[in-house]
Symmetry: C2
Subunit: 271 residues, 2 copies
Amino acid sequence: MTTQQLTQQIHAKKSFLCIGLDVDLTKIPQHLLQTEDPIFEFNKAIIDATHDLCVSYKPNTAFYEAYGLKGWQSLQKTINYINENYPEIFTIADAKRGDIGNTSSMYAKAFFEDLNFDSVTVAPYMGKDSVEPFLAFENKHAIMLALTSNEGAFDFQTKNVEGKELYKTVIETSKTWKNSEKLMYVVGATKAEYFTDIRKIVPDSFLLVPGVGAQGGSLSEVCKYGMSNNVGLLINSSRGIIYASNGTDFAEKARTEALKLQQEMAAILSN
Amino acid sequence: MTTQQLTQQIHAKKSFLCIGLDVDLTKIPQHLLQTEDPIFEFNKAIIDATHDLCVSYKPNTAFYEAYGLKGWQSLQKTINYINENYPEIFTIADAKRGDIGNTSSMYAKAFFEDLNFDSVTVAPYMGKDSVEPFLAFENKHAIMLALTSNEGAFDFQTKNVEGKELYKTVIETSKTWKNSEKLMYVVGATKAEYFTDIRKIVPDSFLLVPGVGAQGGSLSEVCKYGMSNNVGLLINSSRGIIYASNGTDFAEKARTEALKLQQEMAAILSN
């Protein structure tokens, strides 16, 4: 998918919501545990109930790998289900991969060719040759960690590197890499003011924003400082939507929560 | 496995060699492609031919994920084969994982419980809560990227952060984390002099060293500056050993290459 197609979808759906499919078997409705593939059945119900309210789904690979071979199979079935039934959706493998060049190429092959995701999240620590292989695929994107929303973000990301915070150096440097126009960035919603500085470096790039809602960030503040001319934001919500209920009404309640966010987004987009 | 047991194994085998199992179907002997699981058959032959010359095997997960479900199955069969037949071996899942706390816990579960590796490589960018979950398992270890051996290492890792290089800040900061005595570090062999400074920060920690051989690092130089009282080094070689031949004699030739390194190591240990 191109970023133009993503922006078109955002305007059509009046939503820039990304739903995180972080499925933990201890948190899903108990009646699903009797099915052959509880993770997939859970995802399928959530997707069917919310696909018109969001533009993106983001399974975090950790939650699938934790269940071994069976988990990887659930991931495969989930991405296939989205691609077959809702091809307009922008899919994100939240995998935070990165390795030396030839190894990153293998990860890119895994997520772009074998699983056919539109994008994958990557870690910046190993630099240029660890990220560029993810940018070599047509209409595929790498979403690089810049400023994350967790406590540990302040261990290194905000440290001063030759006059500016490391996360700014990371974003600036990445702009010199080959096919960098396909890069997007993870920017946590912990402090909306950060977006002002980031927009000076990447005025148009898409930013994937975790930390709105459960982790305390404000949607309107993030949009105020972070929205670009092409919208340029994907706001992620995981637990607040998918675990809204753990009864048989879980999909319906997930829709209710997604709808609240979509309506806030529609109001922001209409301004 | 404890680090004491690892050091005992090193002295018993007179080796601190780690063999990287980065299996690429385009590079392995063609006759294996007719078997049901070429990746596993290749690994099994390499392991049977070299297990007495090395103390560790390190499959890089990218090479397995690239083949999807079948690749994950090959990884599972490989780790099970090592654990069942050569339980003295220190196993490393070279996965370079890291995410927010509850998500890193899922990765730790995947590699320590589901697959039963002794250790997993992790990325530092997301800080403390992204690494600590990997240190909460008894006799399991996290091996954190510090200074890697690729070109991109110089993009951020060697940048000056408040008076010292980022990789030094990363190592120093990690020493304050819970159960940090279970941490090991990835330090590339590109410049042996780096080891002098690193040993001032972590005099005893094990360092996993890629980049000897194929990538140009010198074994004797690395040992001169990097060896600790408990040896404290795992020298990795992947391609130089596993792709020594692509004929039917591949395992035998892999043994020949591993033996050369083991003999150099035995000589260094006896000094």
